[in-house]
């Protein structure tokens, strides 16, 4: 009887271990369905066309985004666990209607900049969302690979594995990702001790792109101020338009290059000075890719195995010749 029990227990453990291994391998081998579109994409936001939908209560791009993302986030836990020791909870679930800044429920908003062009006062409207950078620190530094840049250029956060540590927000020069506490896998682990929700930002409507459709904000724009297409074409179009109007581009060099280009009739430092900035309201200043400073040392890391092999071989040769000399002396 005891033997039978032992065997059963062993079989159970074997089965459980095998199931866990298969489960882990399965989870890791299935990439998220976000590899949208074919080839590298880019978007152009033409500020000479955008009028901020001044005649509407909410800009069309903002409404379209809110509509398509509505209900995507589950309701947060009630009460939301208070993280120890920081005690900071970020809850936007009761303020889903907010549309004048980035929130976990508002992934695009329109900034307003009153500037002078050729002596005349003019208002420039600037739709703001994730820039989908070429080498996004928010994704490469994500400790759980929850945030990833896909081949089409979209940078997408997986809400199922994100712990809401806000590292992506900290390393983003525009602080784009926004946190919603009380949602996510951290609730199933150690909610008060690890994690603090999930991070949310524009994913370029990856699911729509996968179906061959256009992102909701671009589709909804009544002024056709936004466009998406193959990166080379969009870049060429943006540069041609900038040359034609004597305008300026933003996003081409910023943070090492992005998949989002803004075309403006006024320099971006003037827009940066004119827009309201703060949490959820990014600026338009010159931005260098801070991680570029670590690339040199990173390359040294990649070279380290070869250096180690060379040092080991050289050391061993020295050791062998020393050993031979000693043996000679001893003879």
């Amino acid at each position: 009887m005891e033997k039978k029990l032992t065997l059963n227990r062993r079989r159970f453990l074997k089965t459980a271990t095998a199931a866990a291994m298969v489960g882990t391998a399965g989870a890791l081998s299935v990439p998220r369905q976000a590899e949208a579109g074919e080839g590298q994409l880019a978007t152009l936001i033409d500020l000479t066309r955008c009028d901020g939908c001044f005649d509407r209560e909410t800009p069309a791009c903002v409404s379209a985004c809110k509509k398509i993302k509505a209900g995507k986030l589950p309701e947060p836990a009630d009460p939301i666990p208070v993280p120890f020791p920081i005690g900071k909870v970020e809850d936007w679930s009761k303020k889903k209607e907010v549309g004048d800044r980035l929130t976990p429920y508002n992934l695009i908003f329109v900034q307003k900049a009153d500037v002078e062009i050729d002596g005349r006062k003019k208002t420039v409207y600037i739709p703001r969302r994730c820039m989908h950078c070429d080498n996004p620190a928010c994704a490469t530094l994500c400790p759980f690979a929850s945030n990833h840049k896909f081949e089409n250029g979209s940078v997408v956060i997986d809400p199922d594995t994100c712990f809401g540590g806000a590292k992506c927000q900290a390393v983003c020069p525009w602080k784009i990702p926004q946190r919603q506490s009380g949602i996510g896998v951290y609730l199933k682990v150690l909610p008060t001790l690890m994690g603090n929700g999930i991070m949310v930002k524009c994913d370029l409507c990856s699911d729509l792109l996968k179906e061959g459709k256009t992102p909701a904000c671009i589709e909804a724009c009544p002024k056709k101020a936004m466009s998406i297409g193959p990166r080379k074409e969009i870049y060429a179009k943006a540069e041609a338009l900038a040359a034609k109007i004597g305008g300026y581009l933003y996003g081409k060099e910023e943070n090492g290059g992005t998949s989002t280009l803004y075309l403006s009739p006024v320099p971006f430092d003037r827009l940066d000075a004119a827009v309201q900035k703060g949490p959820g309201k990014p600026g338009l200043g010159a931005v260098k890719r801070r991680m570029a400073g670590t690339d040199g040392m990173g390359k040294a890391v990649l070279a380290a195995p070869a250096i180690g092999i060379a040092a080991g071989v050289a050391g061993a040769f020295a050791g062998l010749s020393k050993r031979k000399d000693r043996m000679k002396k001893e003879r």
């Binding site: 994704a139 400790p143 890391v301």
Partner: protein, 291 residues
């Protein structure tokens, strides 16, 4: 290869300078990697570590990544040097042997007062197993870390499947590394192992301890190679008697050309040899200096 012994000071060299350097370079760079890796998790801001004086940088991920990279270069070079150097010189005393698992069980039982431990070679069987375990853990961390580094610099849009594997293996083996490190520290806290601690700081351990607990280490030198004619005498400083006992098996026990630590080195110029210092009697519990 030689075993450097100082009878007067009751010391025998267990690690050469190179081995000490390898150990401490790996240990210190490993600790820095551990710490900067934790800050990357992120922990600095989450747990208020940023408010600790001297650790305000813990919340700056670019700074902690730089620190992580610098420590990685040192750690990887030292680790691969260790494998290549000792591999080519066939100094493989830390590699597990047949029967080590069984022997380790006996040794662990003896720590809890059940039975007697067998006589040891230079390293304990569980030390050899732990070495291999730690090597596997480190190998996985290094390989996955190299993939992550490559992704950071050259391929942010690397296949998500590869990035997920690299990231999670790095994280899981990071936890295993912490456990292995805790086990390593736990092992030296055990009373019978404590005399070995001196060895990793100074290079030498107590001779009576080595004779009692590691007789196979000393015996191999004595039995498998001809020993030079003994000519024991006083050292130059007149304080100690040094014995350098030659025998190739010591190399197989993982010894590099020893640069004996200060306590022994002070007398090495008068390298007297002494066979009497090497005995391979199986120790009894009663005689144990650790009992």
């Amino acid at each position: 290869m030689s075993l450097a012994i100082n009878e007067e000071k009751n010391r025998i060299v267990r690690h050469g300078l190179l081995e000490l350097a390898e150990h401490w370079v790996l240990a210190l760079s490993g600790l820095i990697l551990l710490l900067s890796g934790m800050f990357e998790l992120p922990m600095g801001t989450r747990y208020g570590i940023t408010s600790i004086p001297g650790l305000t940088w813990s919340g700056d991920y670019i700074t902690s990544l730089t620190v992580h990279y610098v420590a990685s270069v040192i750690f990887i070079v030292a680790g691969i040097f260790h494998i290549i150097y000792h591999g080519l010189l066939k100094e493989q005393g830390l590699m597990p042997r047949r029967g080590d698992i069984k022997a380790s069980v006996i040794v662990v039982k003896s720590f809890f007062g059940k039975g007697e431990e067998p006589p040891f070679d230079k390293y304990l069987p569980e030390q050899r197993l732990a070495y291999l375990g730690m090597a596997v853990i480190i190998a996985v961390i290094v390989i996955s870390g190299l993939v992550k580094t490559y992704k950071n610099i050259y391929a942010p849009d690397l296949s998500h499947t590869i990035v997920l594997w690299a990231t999670w293996l790095h994280n899981i083996f990071f936890v295993l590394f912490i456990l292995a490190f805790a086990g390593h520290i736990g092992a030296i806290v055990l009373k019978p192992n404590r005399p070995m601690v001196r060895g990793i700081f100074t290079g030498a351990v107590r001779l009576d301890y080595a004779r009692h607990r590691h007789p196979l280490w000393l015996a191999e030198a004595n039995t498998t190679a001809p020993l030079p004619v003994p000519s024991a005498g006083k050292s130059e400083d007149g304080k100690g008697v040094t014995a350098v006992i030659d025998g190739s098996p010591a190399e197989a026990a993982g010894e590099t050309p020893a640069s004996p630590e200060a306590e022994v080195a002070g007398t090495t110029e008068s390298k007297r040899t002494e066979t009497a210092g090497v005995t391979a009697e199986k120790p009894s519990r009663e005689e144990s200096p650790n009992a």
